[in-house]
Amino acid sequence: MELILFACAAALYVAATLAALVYLYLKNERVSILMYHLLVAGVVVHLASFGLRLELFWKIPENRYFAPISSFYGALSFLSLAVAVVFAVVEGRHRLGILGAFVLPWAAAGAVGAWWRALYMGGTEIHGLAPALQSYWMNIHPMVLMAAYAIFANAFGVGLALLVQEAQVKSRKPTELCYRLPAIEDLDDLNYRCIVTGFPVLTVGILMGGIWAYGAWGRFWGWDPKETWSLITALVYAAYLHMRSIGGWRGRKSVYMSMVGFACVLFTFIGVNFLSGLHGYLSSNG
């Protein structure tokens, strides 16, 4: 049941993404509104599925009151939920429906990826948490980091839109797309605001991990691949913020930098799992 609901949520995200893409090419406000409704419906169904999973997860006493994100399926599902929610907030506040085409694919890909994995590779069965993970930090550390990832995914989408808009204006032959996308400077500003919000969240998340590690393993930092890569990610975004505020990097250049940051996020989230023992919920020995 949980998986069926989750598949519905994934389908709704895909539908919202398609609506966003259609809106990109047809000037029709109703499609944009449809996209928003599909997205909100997706979030609601997703929350329901998450709630069901929570109930099952908490049936195991040692899991009680911890978030079910210790498996890759759980983590990816939660991440796509976060991306969808962050975008719903951004969209609700700025009414930039057009950005859906650049952000929602991430939510859809995350959800479909999680569903695919659950269907063909298993991983939805619920285990008791390893003793090291039975800590209140389990509810904070990964959540905070995934919130940061979701914000960065939005920043990435905004950055992509900026590149498109910049090329449009620069070409001197703007197509209709140019009139749909927000202004270059506004996109630049939004990209910056996402990252300036995401960066402290990421930093705090990493520090929390250190504190947890100190409690669990007796050391604050152990150069585990996940730790290393999250540090690299944080450094890239710090460099972005630095170059933007002091180096006068804006527009295309700073967007490239933020995209490098997002590539690091993806690698930290997915790639590193194959390397890391301690954070390896993908290799499912976490």
Partner: protein, 354 residues
């Protein structure tokens, strides 16, 4: 039965249109009343002069035609068109939607249709048929513009330039515009810009006094010609309109200003002939250069795009005209069909009874 007699830019030379349009609406309406017409609306714009009328007489069209010829002072011949019944409804919907306009989809006509109706209403020359028809026309006019792309994209060089500036900066509220030159083009541009909300207008001209004069007229600031390269550090939009036969803004000048701009966008609009701004400026990061030819290219694309939407818009108008015809047939039969939006008007409004 509703009839239409009129002339437009498609059928009639401009002198005749001007002669017809010279007549104030109120006067035209009272003349039509004297002809025995109960309902009449006179739509008079630069490009068309049309009389929509309804009456019980043998042929309201005849009366309108006579009035038109009297005003024009000569027989109309092929210059005027005559329509009646459903064709009138479709025509008015097309006009309101901007499908009959010189520039397809232009927005002014919708306001003119409303004004024409309002004038008729005040002259007590409207009745049930014209009331519903013109309210419906205003609605269809809006619908056509929102449901199709006939009104998308600006169609004048000046508004395209402003639009592009907004694509770059978003709001132009706090933006600084630097105008190079103080000639006729500079003046036109300043006038256009002062109607948009911009932060500050700065004029740099070789003859300082003329720059001061122009700046004073548009509440701007004048700077000496030698100072303009320094102004490139703060300006957001630069308009080249000098009479110089060589570019006055070179790639080097811009490059020197860039470091202190901290990556803010810089938009050059070159409306000078020959050009004022070196082409290579567009290769710089955060710098966008549009020449007059580029802007004209955008206008041409926009006009073409609007034309491409004509068929879709025409289909929409046809549907709406058919709806109206169905309503008209039911009037007076006691089982009046609903027209959707008409029902939404507040109940108990006595305004229409006049």
């Amino acid at each position: 039965m509703i009839v239409l007699r009129g002339v437009s830019h498609k059928t009639c030379p401009v002198e005749l249109r001007e002669r017809l349009a010279a007549r104030p609406a109120a006067e035209a309406l009272s003349a039509l009343r004297e002809q025995g017409l109960a309902e009449a609306v006179v739509l008079s714009t630069c490009n068309r002069f049309e009389v929509y009328a309804a009456g019980d007489g043998d042929d309201p069209g005849e009366a309108v035609g006579r009035a038109l010829e009297a005003w024009a002072g000569r027989p109309m011949g092929d210059a005027a068109y005559a329509k009646s019944g459903a064709a009138v409804v479709e025509h008015l919907f097309r006009v309101a939607g901007g499908l009959e306009s010189l520039v397809v989809g232009e927005g002014e006509i919708l306001g003119q249709v409303k004004t024409a109706y309002e004038a008729a209403r005040q002259a007590q020359m409207t009745g049930k048929l014209t009331n519903v028809l013109f309210q419906r026309a205003a609605y269809v006019g809006k619908l056509v513009r929102s449901e199709t792309a006939v009104a998308v994209g600006h169609t004048s060089v000046a508004s395209v330039a402003v639009d592009l500036a907004e694509r770059i900066f978003g709001s132009l509220h706090e933006k600084e515009v630097l105008i190079l030159g103080a000639g006729e083009m500079a003046e036109l541009t300043s006038r256009h810009l002062s109607s948009c909300k911009i932060g500050r207008l700065v004029v740099a001209n070789r003859t300082y006094e003329r720059g001061v004069e122009l700046a004073a007229r548009f509440h701007g600031e004048a700077v000496r010609w030698e100072e303009f390269p320094a102004r490139l550090r703060t300006a957001d939009i630069v308009i080249g309109s000098t009479g110089s036969d060589r570019p006055v803004v070179t790639r080097r000048t811009v490059e020197e200003a860039l470091p202190s701009r901290m990556g803010r966008s810089l938009f050059f609009i070159d409306i000078a002939m020959p050009r004022d701004i070196e082409e290579a400026v567009n290769d710089l990061d955060h710098v966008y250069l549009y020449s007059l030819a580029d802007l004209e290219g955008v206008v041409k694309d926009n006009v073409a795009r609007r034309r491409g939407e004509l068929e879709k818009a025409a289909r929409l108008v046809e549907t709406k005209a058919a709806e109206f015809a169905a309503w008209e047939r039911t009037v007076g039969t006691g089982a009046e069909a609903s027209l959707g939006h008409v029902r939404k008007t507040p109940r108990g409004g006595q305004g229409e009874k006049s």
